[in-house]
């Protein structure tokens, strides 16, 4: 596994009115790494994701990505869809599936930025367009098989059980062929069995698809099992970083989560 970085965040700062949501946050993800972003609620984790994916524009600082195939890019002023096209995909904390569309179609949407048929193609349905459509359908189905959702293929997304919906978000993000996958609380609301399967899935994605993964999570067991590197935020600032062993014993982290008494 190469030790090149794929993502570098330097002194990222974001203010909402008078509130400082992110204060000089620095982060680095290496290729093939599974990293975790943890911290109490309101620490700024999802805000950081939103900056990385172009939903918020940071007030100061830089975000650089280093795609394995391709040149370095500065993400600061790019549009949301441009960032996705460059190879960063995400899931949402509150599920944002296209609920009226089928499971397959949700994944097919992910293939949009990796295909090119336009208006003319749509109307004429020439061979090139038809082949591309078939490819999209097949590729999407394959992804569903990987994630284990192929039995739901023609069901409406809104009719899926909760755990399946969370996995569909991941499937959809995968369809965009990212090199870096951002997962926002993928295990939220899952029972221990589902969480175990999720853990296996994330390993599988990293190994089989050569992904680098950054996840926000509150499930500490999952984080400790999966992550090679952990960043801890509190009130928009980094309070610790390191391996799971380091973080587990770090007094600042314990204090942030549990209060002063526990660290004594």
């Amino acid at each position: 596994m190469s030790m090149d970085k794929v993502l570098e965040v330097i002194n990222l700062t974001l203010n909402f009115g008078g509130l400082c949501a992110l204060d000089n946050v620095c982060l680095e993800i290496k290729k093939g790494e599974i990293a975790a972003l943890i911290g109490p609620n309101g620490a700024g984790k999802t805000t950081l994701f939103n900056c990385l994916t172009g939903i918020y524009k940071p007030d100061a600082g830089d975000i650089f990505i280093y795609p394995p195939q391709g040149k370095q890019h500065r993400l600061n002023n790019l549009k949301i869809n441009q960032i996705t096209a460059l190879g960063i995909a995400r899931t949402f904390q509150n599920i944002r599936l296209f609920s009226g569309m089928t499971v397959l179609e949700n994944v097919m949407i992910g293939r949009h930025c990796r295909s090119g048929a336009g208006i003319a193609g749509a109307i004429l349905r020439d061979k090139g367009t038809r082949d591309e459509e078939n490819l999209i359908v097949n590729d999407s189905y394959k992804i569903l098989e990987i994630i284990g959702l192929d039995s739901y293929v023609n069901d409406l997304a809104k009719n899926l059980p909760y755990g399946a919906q969370r996995r569909l978000e991941i499937a959809r993000a995968l369809a965009t062929e990212p090199f870096l996958l951002l997962l926002d609380e993928p295990a939220a609301g899952m029972n221990p069995q589902e969480t175990k399967e999720l853990e296996k899935l994330i390993y599988q994605l990293r190994d089989d698809l050569n992904l680098s993964i950054l996840l926000i999570e509150h499930d500490m067991k999952l984080v400790m099992n999966l992550a090679q590197n952990i960043f801890v935020l509190d009130y928009g600032e980094e309070i610790a970083r390191g391996t799971p062993q380091d973080i587990r014993k770090n007094p600042a982290v314990i204090k942030a989560y549990l209060g002063v008494e526990a660290s004594a």
Binding site: F16, T46, N50, I55, F92
Partner: protein, 300 residues
């Protein structure tokens, strides 16, 4: 009295009416996030009702003052009732629906009310009597501002002050502000949201009715369609000032009235309505939050 001054006071008069109407739009939008398309029609119904009552009373030989007071009171009561009813029929069932549904329902209600009045009364323009109370004191200022214009401006100002006091100091006013900020939370702390919403519609409709009577008296005519143009313009004023903001609606109304007046006076009077629409389009494109509004951030 120079041209500029004339235009200024004429703009002030228009602006006052727009402000009165805009308040209804902004209050409803603040609480329900709904553009009450039918609000203009409430304004028109208020003016029509006053006309009907005034005509009947005139035939029965009531005194001028009695006619003005009774027609005004009945019109306000009726408009409030119409506003209340419209909300219960067209908006209440759709409170949980996606945003498109109540908007289309509002358009439907607007079309319905317009045609209702047109079919029940007439599609012609009808002459409108002067239902403004004659106050001889005002004639003193007639070199600067006409007495009817002065009545309009003063009435509007008084109403706006009363509304502001109401919103700020009464229990219902506080409940309205709370509901506008966060409807669910207001429900959880015990605010009767249904009553708040009904009150909002009632107050907005009452103001619209007064506005309708004032302007119809001033222009001297009325027809079933006046609600549409006035409605769009009042909505422009509400957006201009910052939709959801009550002082914004007042400011927006005045700005729109003055802009229209000066534009028609110095540029062209044919394109009078174009100025309002153009202003609306420009504001929504460049500063959708308006003059006094704050852009809201959606939690992702």
């Amino acid at each position: 009295m120079n041209y500029f001054g004339e235009l200024f006071f004429s703009g002030l008069t228009r602006g006052s009416i727009y402000a009165l109407l805009a308040l209804g739009y902004t209050m409803v939008y603040g609480i329900l996030s709904l553009i009450n398309f039918a609000h203009g029609e409430i304004y028109m119904i208020g003016a029509f009702t006053a006309l009907i009552v005034a005509s009947v009373l005139t035939m029965k030989g009531f005194s001028s003052i009695a006619i003005i007071v009774l027609a005004g009171a009945v019109a306000v009561a009726y408009s409030a009732a119409y506003g209340f009813t419209v909300e219960k029929i067209a908006y209440k069932p759709l409170r949980q629906a996606p945003r498109l549904s109540p908007l289309i329902s509002a358009i439907g209600m607007s079309i319905f009310l317009q045609n209702y009045v047109m079919l029940a009364q007439t599609s012609d323009f009808l002459p409108y009597p002067n239902l403004l109370p004659p106050i001889p004191f005002f004639d003193r200022f007639s070199s600067v501002i006409g007495p009817s214009e002065l009545s309009i401006v003063l009435t509007s100002a008084i109403l706006m002050i009363l509304l502001t006091l109401f919103i700020k100091f009464t229990r219902m006013g506080k409940a309205m502000r709370a509901t506008a900020q966060d409807r669910e939370m207001a429900m959880l702390v015990g605010v009767n949201v249904n009553r708040v919403i009904s009150t909002t519609f009632i107050i907005g409709s009452a103001l619209a009715a007064i506005g309708g009577i004032l302007i119809a008296s001033h222009t001297g005519r009325i027809n079933f369609y006046i609600g549409f143009t006035a409605g769009i313009k009042a909505f422009t004023a509400a957006v201009l000032g910052g939709i959801g903001s009550i002082p914004g609606a007042m400011l927006g109304g005045l700005v729109l009235g003055l802009t229209e007046s000066f534009a028609t006076g110095y540029i062209s009077s044919d394109y009078e309505d174009v100025f309002a629409f153009a202003l609306l389009v420009l504001i929504l494109i460049f500063k959708p939050s308006g003059l006094l509004g704050r852009a809201t951030n959606q939690k992702v």
